[in-house]
Amino acid sequence: MHEVVALMAGNVWKIVVQVGDVVEEGQDVVILESMKMEIPIATEAGGVVKAIHVQEGDFVNEGDVLIEIE
């Protein structure tokens, strides 16, 4: 199981994948927004999206788990 975590505090601006999607290593899965800056968060492992722990508009802290990939 691979966890994709937030690299900074901010709002979830866009979730690019859905549960069940097959993703590749390095693919952007979530876009965070903080201080008027948009940060694409990529997965460091490929696999199937098992769970999405956030919704668009949510506020997250650095280190929060966003997505689980199996």
């Binding site: 901010g10 903080s34 201080m35 008027k36 800056m37 940060i39």
Partner: protein, 453 residues
């Protein structure tokens, strides 16, 4: 002159405006969001009113709430600062309808310069050089490809309503153009509600040099020389200076005169800035007009001795400019750096609590800052937490003062870009004046995210 104004902004610029108002004996009304309740601008203003929740669209962009506070407090005018509502024609129009003076140009002028396509057309009519390209919205990707082929690659694909790098992409061939067009158009539609696109010839290794203007309602317009703002990251300026180390006197004069011609052509009033791209042969091309006070205005103030905020207030109150072009002096050299709450390597934002803040001191150092020890830097607003301005008798002296100041800063609890700023200022290329817009990519190999407008 006004007796009371409302400041529709926050942070350092709100404090900057309050300072000039105090000098002129003008009462100030601050507004603040829930996240800014303990901010310095709230404490420094004569009155302060909450305007909504933390997010800007629920507070600082709430036009009707701001207007109602202005009316309740009997503020005669509103200063919008920069960003937020400062270039919002609807807001300026609402102020006008309510009999409140908007401290800035007329709403129709704001609207005209807010559209990059319309601004290009207008500048061409005024005889100001524009970058070769197309001055009307492209119908589709095929038209974009035809235009790009006719002006030659590389080209910049740009959203008319874009800003901060959103909806803008450098493309080297037709395949890239076709790939980029739809994505940029949809992003521009999503961010700005307007997906109009155009293409421009790409200027290789350009400088970003802008002319500061002041224009009154009596037909007088002067330029306060130029600022060079080429050192940027993610299309946002980090170091600005005046005068430009690149311009010669003749180009400087030509740019100033072109800017004044443009301002008179559109009936501009108040403070404004015309931004130009300048190529290696010193040809200059209109980039955009900022119809507001700019972040980097202090460097101009330092070399001219003119308080630009004071001039804005005087012009908005109907006064005539009290000096002519020939009386605008230029003395010494000034450099400004923007201190951001961000990782200096990745440029990722770094919100948090400032546990310790110690500022450098010195006769030639000026601070524009709205945080102190204990301040919380939230993720809701721009990452800029302070500006430092250093002045010297010449460029080398100003650089030396700034480097010393950067070493003396002590900011703990959050990450800042001070190491990156120090690396720029101490770089041989910067010291020699090789300050092109590619500086950070060329010499510092930095990466980072994209910026929201």
């Amino acid at each position: 002159m006004f007796s009371k104004i409302l400041i529709a902004n926050r942070g350092e610029i709100a404090l900057r405006i309050i300072r000039t108002c105090q000098k002129l004996g003008i009462q100030t009304v601050a507004i603040y969001s829930e996240a800014d309740a303990n901010s310095l601008h709230v404490k420094q203003a004569d009155e302060a009113y909450i305007v909504g929740k933390a997010r800007v669209n629920e507070s600082y962009l709430n036009i009707e709430k701001i207007i109602s506070i202005a009316k309740e407090t009997k503020a005669e005018a509103i200063h919008p600062g920069y960003g937020l509502l400062s270039e919002n024609a609807t807001f300026a129009r609402r102020c006008e309808e309510e009999g409140i003076v908007f401290i800035g140009p007329q709403p129709d002028v704001i609207a005209k310069m807010g559209s990059k396509i319309e601004a290009r057309q207008t500048m061409a009519e005024a005889g100001v050089p524009i970058v070769p390209g197309i001055s009307f919205p492209l119908a589709d990707v095929d038209e974009a490809a035809n235009v790009a082929n006719s002006i030659g690659y590389p080209v910049m694909l740009k959203a008319s309503a874009g800003g901060g790098g959103i909806g803008m992409q450098l493309v080297y061939d037709e395949e890239q153009l076709r790939k980029a067009f739809e994505g940029n158009q949809s992003r521009a539609t999503s961010f700005f509600g307007d997906g109009a696109m155009y293409v421009e010839k790409y200027i290789d290794n350009p400088r970003h040099i802008e002319i500061q203007l002041l224009a009154d309602a009596h037909g007088n317009c002067v330029y306060l020389w130029e600022r060079e703002c080429s050192i940027q990251r993610r299309h946002q300026k980090v170091v600005e200076e005046a005068p430009s180390p690149f311009l010669d006197e003749e180009t400087r004069r030509k740019m100033g005169e072109a800017a004044v011609r443009a301002a008179k052509h559109i009936g501009y009033t108040n403070a404004g800035t015309i931004e130009f791209l300048v190529d290696e042969q010193k040809n200059f091309y209109f980039l955009e007009m900022n119809t507001r006070l700019q972040v980097e205005h202090p460097v101009t103030e330092e070399i001219t001795g003119i308080d630009i905020v004071e001039q804005q207030l005087r012009i908005a109150a109907g006064e005539k400019l009290s000096f002519t072009q020939a009386e605008v002096k230029r003395e010494g050299h000034a450099i400004e750096v923007r201190i951001y709450a961000e990782d200096p390597n990745t440029f990722f934002p770094s919100p948090g609590t400032i546990t310790r803040l110690q500022l450098p001191e010195g006769e030639h150092i000026r601070h524009e800052i709205a945080v102190q020890s204990g301040s919380v830097v939230t993720p809701f607003y721009d990452p800029m937490i302070a500006k430092c301005i250093a002045k010297g008798s010449d460029r080398q002296a100003a650089i030396a003062t700034m480097i010393e100041a950067l070493h003396e800063y002590k900011i703990e609890g959050i990450k800042t870009n001070i190491p990156m700023l120090t690396a720029v200022l101490t770089h041989e290329a910067f010291q020699q004046g090789h300050t092109t817009t590619n500086f950070v990519n060329m010499y510092m190999n930095k990466k980072g995210g994209k910026t929201h407008a």
